[in-house]
């Protein structure tokens, strides 16, 4: 299973865990499984159409999935996935 790093605002959905192990052959499948394991987290990451929200970035290792195959980017068990939302406070 890949390791998914959870940003602080979403840890309320993951029982406070800053990283979780989730299976999935692609980012799309991994996000589906993440939402299945931690209900409610999915809608904070994807919009109603299933697209990644425009103020959220998903990285596989240090690669932005928009430069890979987007939600169809393949995921290996050894991969580390980071979810990075924009922080707007000042």
């Amino acid at each position: 299973m890949a390791t998914v790093r959870i940003p602080t605002p979403l840890r309320k959905y993951t029982e406070g865990k800053d990283e979780v192990a989730i299976s999935g052959a692609s980012i799309r499948e991994l996000l589906d499984n993440l939402d299945g394991a931690y209900a409610g987290i999915g809608e904070r990451i994807r919009d109603g159409k299933g697209d990644v929200r425009r103020f959220v970035n998903i990285f596989v290792a240090d690669e932005d999935i928009r430069f890979l195959d987007g939600l169809d980017t393949k995921v290996e068990d050894t991969d580390e996935i980071s979810i990075i939302p924009a922080i707007a406070g000042g």
């Binding site: 940003p7 602080t8 103020f55 707007a88 406070g89 000042g90």
Partner: protein, 238 residues
């Protein structure tokens, strides 16, 4: 400082990020600073807005910040305080280069304004530092429109978060020292942008509760709404 001595640093927002950013700029030797904020100091601000004290409560933040930095500076320093609400429509005129080089530090807590300031700076070729802070976390990114081989803020984040998903510091809290760390980092980036722009294009993400600092250096997106046209029209610089 070299070129930074002749640079005007425009600090938008004299709050949790703006106060430490101003301290960093002044202590680095900045000679010209413009501070823009329409808010007044509240007692609840004082743990993170370190330029202010109880005597400043109720006073214009821009004016109180101006007095504080002038009192601290050891170098000749000209500070303009603009006690005004910045709107996207005002940006073009305000940021229009007036001969001297300008670097903008976007320190507001308004997500839409943050993106609007960033876009206006890119349109006018002005380097800008964008940051955000909440709780124990923060992000900072230097953007240099002269470096077309580097990503801008919108290459990374395509649009601002909606208000319901981007609570303000006043609503959910921020650790004062975290805002301090981010504000100082903004000053470092701003001085670098004035001098050479070597730090541009990378977002640094701090989680100071976890003790982690992560640097992300994305590629510029060819279809970026803010900087894609610069590359398409003029090509990437070496």
């Amino acid at each position: 400082m070299g070129a930074a001595l002749h640079t005007t640093f425009v600090v938008i927002g004299a709050g949790g990020l703006g106060c430490p950013a101003l301290l960093g700029l002044v202590d680095a030797g900045a000679r010209r600073i413009t501070i823009i904020d329409d808010d007044t100091v509240d007692a609840s601000n004082l743990h993170r807005q370190v330029l202010f004290g109880l005597a400043d409560v109720g006073v214009s933040k821009a004016k109180a910040a101006r007095a504080a930095v002038l009192g601290r500076a050891r170098q000749p320093l000209a500070v303009t305080a603009l006690d005004q609400r910045l709107r996207a429509d005002d940006l073009a005129g305000l940021l229009e280069p007036a001969g001297a080089p300008v670097v903008v530090l976007e320190c507001s807590d308004d997500p839409s304004l943050k993106f609007a300031v960033h876009d206006a700076c890119l349109d006018q070729g002005i380097p800008v530092v964008v940051a955000g802070v909440i709780g124990w976390r923060g992000q900072v990114m230097a953007v240099d429109p002269r470096r077309r081989d580097r990503a801008c803020y919108r290459c990374l984040f395509e649009a601002p978060p909606p208000p319901e998903l981007a609570p303000a510091c006043a609503a959910v809290g921020v650790i004062g020292a975290v805002a301090g760390a981010l504000g100082y980092a903004m000053a470092v980036h701003a001085v670098d942008l004035a001098e050479r722009g070597s730090t541009a294009g990378a977002l640094t993400h701090f989680d100071l509760l976890a003790g982690s600092v992560r640097r992300l250096a994305p590629k510029p997106r060819p279809d970026c709404s803010a900087c894609g046209h610069l590359r398409n029209n003029h090509g990437a610089l070496p």
